[in-house]
Subunit: 393 residues, 2 copies
């Protein structure tokens, strides 16, 4: 499926949900929601850590607002010219004069004014609009309420997350590619791992594999020995030593879609405690995988993973705040596999299941895999062997 076809399919799904939903339109604000709705993800936004692009979606219209600098790349990504309402200062010239002088983009005083103009253009000044409230800074919310007194704003972040949670075939393809690159990186690093090699060297092998396959490395946790217990930590020049646990937790982006895959190895032969705990956390992940199917609650997956890990010789109590999460255009998406998350799985939802164990002074271990919920179960998006790999001491 081409990326353009995927964007068309996503917009169609969003509109179908909108037709059945409680809003006349939805205003997407988070990077992932704007990307889902429009196919455009601001590169300068992600470099500078602040997304200022918004997408207003109705049954028939898609309008983007954002900094002028995003206008030309958004048109290049497929947005019709004229459908970007801009603010800020940036110069794209053109043969017949400046872009903003030729009507290429509208100019507004700021982010709020551009959104207000989009709402008026779409004829929504007296409508009910779903607001991506979790990504809406207070000043923007206040400005919108003041400038659009006839609009009824309803919270829409959870609704957007639900729409995004059931993946389309093109999304599964990209999630599969991202997962395969993370797996491939781990395989390549394991082939290279032996006593004396450093965490950082192995992290480079992982990142290089992702890059060579067309992914953008986003996090490459390669930690060994004591450091394997640190959860999310940068790799260092610490060399592998005999007896070390070696933990990988790595992810990359492919066309906006994330991976998040974890594996553990041991340098030499495992101790009984290492292999016993490993077998238990593997049994915990496997129990989730065996239970996952439409209708099962995320909270039930949590319970089975904890119970199984404890019952098969793992740490007892085995304590975690979650043992998995949805994945897609965000690395953590609802549903989260945690206590109280009484959300039913549905066909097409994608998850990462994981049962990490971190013990300071001893080490950390994990298995994390990606999967999609099918009509009657779950299908892994990964194919990597799942045992405790032994690398040369």
């Amino acid at each position: 499926m081409s990326h353009a076809d995927l964007i068309t399919a996503r917009t169609a799904r969003l509109r179908a949900q909108l037709a059945d939903g409680p809003f006349d339109a939805v205003l997407a604000l988070s990077t992932a929601n704007v990307d889902y709705a429009s196919g455009y993800r601001s590169m300068s936004g992600s470099v500078h850590g602040s997304n200022a692009v918004a997408a207003l979606v109705t049954g028939g219209l898609l309008l983007l607002s954002g900094p002028v600098a995003d206008a030309a790349p958004a048109f290049d990504a497929g947005l019709p010219e004229g459908d970007f309402l801009a603010f800020g200062r940036f110069f794209f010239e053109s043969a017949d004069g400046a872009a903003e002088a030729t009507g290429l983009v509208e100019q507004h005083a700021g982010a709020a004014e551009a959104i207000v103009a989009a709402v008026h253009r779409a004829g929504l000044a007296a409508a009910t609009i779903g607001l991506d409230e979790a990504a809406c800074p207070e000043p923007l919310r206040t400005a919108l309420a003041r400038a659009l007194p006839g609009v009824s704003w309803a919270p829409a972040s959870a609704w957007l997350t639900r729409v995004r949670s059931r993946k389309l075939p093109g999304e599964l393809e990209l999630l599969g590619r991202a997962a395969a690159l993370a797996e491939g990186g781990i395989v390549a690093a394991l082939a290279h791992a032996r006593a004396g090699v450093t965490e950082r060297e192995l992290a480079r092998v992982v990142a290089r594999t992702m890059v060579d396959g067309g992914g953008q490395p986003k996090f490459v946790v390669v930690t060994a020995g004591d450091r394997s217990a640190l959860a999310d930590a940068e790799p260092t020049d610490r060399p592998l030593a005999p007896g070390d646990l070696l933990r990988f937790d790595v992810g990359c982006l492919v066309d906006g879609y994330w991976s998040d895959i974890g594996r553990t190895a041991v340098v030499g032969s495992p101790t009984p405690r290492q292999s016993g705990y490993y077998d238990a956390i593997l049994a915990g992940v496997d129990a989730q995988l065996a239970l996952a199917r439409p209708g099962v609650l995320a909270s039930e997956l949590f319970d089975v993973a904890i119970r199984t890990t404890e019952a098969t010789g793992g740490p007892a109590p085995y304590r975690r705040h979650h043992v998995g999460h949805g994945i897609g255009l965000d690395v953590y998406e609802a549903p989260i596999v945690r206590p109280g998350e009484d959300v039913a799985l549905a066909e097409g939802m994608t998850f990462c299941f994981e049962t990490p164990y971190y013990e300071l002074g001893w080490g950390g271990m994990m298995i994390e895999d990606a999967l999609v919920v099918t009509a009657d179960g779950a299908r892994p998006l990964t194919s990597l062997a799942r045992g405790l790999t032994e690398v040369p001491a």
Copy 2:
């Protein structure tokens, strides 16, 4: 210089400025400011796009507050145990019981409560504290004001930026390494570039060079032909064609320090307009470089770049919102080289100077280089050739 020595030197500089400054202590909140003050940069914060770690710095104390998950990696990065005030739910186990049960970290109800506890621990309940206000969400500000009525909060974001602006030798070393990797990536990609090769293939060569050298690719803009005019845009499968401009604008991270380097090539021989405009924007950058020395204002650099580009056969008017920016732990740091930025250059400041030109339908070109201000001028951090490279058509 080891990374530990660099962190010690940075903290010492911060404390020296604090001793001369208007605050008794400073509360750093942005990722870069927390990193500068403490040497700790939250990996989970950067993956999930939200930094929740804060650093409270006095003449004698450095306390971090943040999610429990950040506690163990922060200790591993050198923070003494006990100096992390935690909130949230995460389990690090230890041989003698749970981490939070053994006093490894304090537990607080939330981000604000942890900061409040740090302020009390430091004896600052009636002090003047510089607040990194630009990175302080409104609810946190309100909670701090309510819980600490005796504290006088003063804005400190600009002050922190000024402290960070004059780089230490260890910082220059890392900025130089990051710049060298960006340059090396461009060199490798240019060696590979010819008609038929795609933007995406060249972007991979750049990213692989960065990874192999120990950098984390952060943005890899490789755009050709019409797309070279799009400013910040993702590379695509568009193949190079004869006559295309080919524009690189790439950056990576090395131990927290950024690079941002730009170069332009042409597929085959340049047209007179391509080479004429290129010579002019190069003259514009060169004029900045020639003028840069302590005491010169950033706004004067802006004027000379615009005037020189226009006067040497470039686009006239040549319109830009800025022609350079500071660089360090952030990719854009004050001072910005723009109109009205009447900030004097000082020895040790690092900049990227750039004079891009974007014309929709024709193409874009740029030269962007990194440099450090010296006692009597400026020294480039880059050594890459600066002409308009010709690649095989």
